[in-house]
Amino acid sequence: MSVLPDTSIARNDSTSSIGIRTILLRWSRPLALLVLVLLPLAASDFVTFQLTMLLVYAVALIALNVLTGFTGQFSLGQNAFFGIGGYSAVIVVEHFHLSYLLGIPVAGVIAAIAGILFAFPALRLKGVYLALATFALGTTIPQLLKLDYIEQWTGGVQGMMIEKPMTPLGLPLSQDAYLYYLTLTIALGIYILSVNLLHSKTGRAMLAIRENETAAAAMGVDVAYYKTIAFGLSAAFTGVSGALGAIVIQFVSPDAYTIQLAVAIFLGIVIGGVGWLPGTIVGAAFIVFVPNVAESISKGLSGAVFGVLILLVIFVFPRGAQQVCDRLLGVEHKKD
């Protein structure tokens, strides 16, 4: 009940199938969690790696949902915060020889600062202009990471390696499985924080800004303040996700954080359903697996196949996974 922005839906309970629907609605979350906990037990190291990346992207999608889904502010530059998070974590661990568990929150804080700094100019922009400004950020940051001046910290064009963390406390887990569960724990934490946010005064202020800025201001919502908070929080979560991604892939380089990544993240929230947090898992699965599927259909034309798949989803289910789920559960949206 609590995870959907349930203000926007009306249940269409026909008595005949109410039982199954209620059960599905009530148990879908614990069930999904159970699957996520058990999956790596049956999976190879490579599949575990892929699942870990899926969770990494899920966090990045939750982060963009805070900004776009809740607050209505577009961003085509999430790769910047993802990259800042990745580099921060690697620098903390490799240059300062500090713990991975410290590198991740530090990455979040540094990305948050970057997000808040970016919010100041961004506050003056709306809609497509904001999208363009974030796009500019997304194209600039990977370039800056290549600069000679900071090469001793960033490894320049080459990038940097980072070692896989050891499983701590003698836990009976492979390194890959440990990383998976670490990522799952953090992803779950960020998911819960975002649900809390959505159902609070702060979250409602954000929704108000998304729906009608003028009316929000007239209600006493300080639009600039809450947009800044949205940018900061979104960047912090993206930074954490970037840090996890860097540790999982064991490598950071400017080319890993190009604007294509931002496009993938944007695509992910559309596929999952903008503003619908459970959809982030679906969006993330799309990012991780669909390019492979496209490749298996046609090696030479994988890009085109991928494009066609996207168009298909957008035309058939413009509200993404949320729409599919609503239809399966018989929940009706009266108005788009």
Binding site: T7, N196, L197, S200, R204, N212, A218, D222, K335
Partner: protein, 261 residues
């Protein structure tokens, strides 16, 4: 009746605003007195909504001043105007369309209580407590306006007349001193207009709220307003008791020359 004794709540002093070549308001001056219902009338394009937008700080007047208790509000940002005790509704309904009635009203109560980002994100006990208080307050207002049955409905699913009441609830929950109503009767049928008149009077009589009412429905204005200000082409035509305004030659001429009843 109480004209002599009443204190002024807000004063509009020589307010003017232009948009490019259009002079939307030109030297408008009048006072709003405490606990009165002041009607603001005028033909289409007279500048009524523009004046509301100046009062709620969405527009910056090019000259003149607006004061509450002698203090100018023209330095105040739009989101701080609720703290000056001013709340409003919009002519074309500016609700948060995809949110529920309850959430809309709760956002109207945003100004009651401090910012609480950390408590909200971590769902600290203080957040839960304030949330319950706000919900209870919102339910009171929702009940007062007879919206309890549609409390969980998405606003965009409701008929226009109901949406207008939701907007009124959203404005009332902030406990304003001054309530600005921009054509609250627009789109309502005869009985609804009648009921609305009672609600507005109740808000003034029982809650002590001062009301500035923009309305084309003359029957409503003349029956509940204590005084009326008439605008035309951005200028004040006349000010006085409803009976005086109704028979004022300039007002009659403005309406006959205009395009509305």
């Amino acid at each position: 009746m109480t004209v002599g004794a009443a204190r002024q709540l807000l004063s509009v002093e020589d307010v003017g605003i232009r948009f490019g070549g259009v002079v939307a308001l030109d030297g408008v001056t009048f006072d709003i007195r405490e606990r009165e219902i002041l009607g603001l009338i005028g033909p289409n394009g007279a500048g009524k909504t523009t004046l509301f937008n100046c009062l709620s700080r969405l527009y910056q007047p090019t000259n003149g001043d607006i004061r509450i208790g002698g203090r100018s509000i023209l330095k105040c940002p739009a989101h701080a105007i609720v703290h000056e005790g001013i709340a409003r509704t919009f002519q074309n309904v500016a609700l948060f369309q995809k949110l529920s009635v309850l959430d809309n009203v709760k956002i109207g109560g945003h100004s009651r209580g401090p910012r609480s980002v950390t408590a909200d994100v971590f769902a600290l006990p203080s957040c839960g407590r304030r949330e319950r208080e706000l919900t209870a307050q919102a339910r009171d207002v929702i009940e007062f306006l007879g919206l309890t049955e549609v409390e969980k409905k998405t606003v965009s699913d409701l008929p226009f007349g109901t949406q207008k009441r939701v907007e009124l609830a959203r404005a009332l929950i902030s406990r304003p001193k001054l309530l600005l109503l921009d054509e609250p009767a627009g789109g309502l049928n005869h009985e609804e207009v009648y009921a609305l008149g009672d609600v507005i009077k109740h808000i003034r009589d029982r809650m002590g709220v001062t009301i500035l009412l923009v309305e084309h429905h003359m029957g409503l204005v003349m029956s509940i307003a204590d005084r009326v200000v008439a605008l035309n082409f951005g200028r004040k035509l006349a000010e006085g008791a409803p009976s005086e305004i109704q028979t004022h030659p300039d007002v009659i001429r403005a309406y006959l020359g205009g395009d509305k009843k």
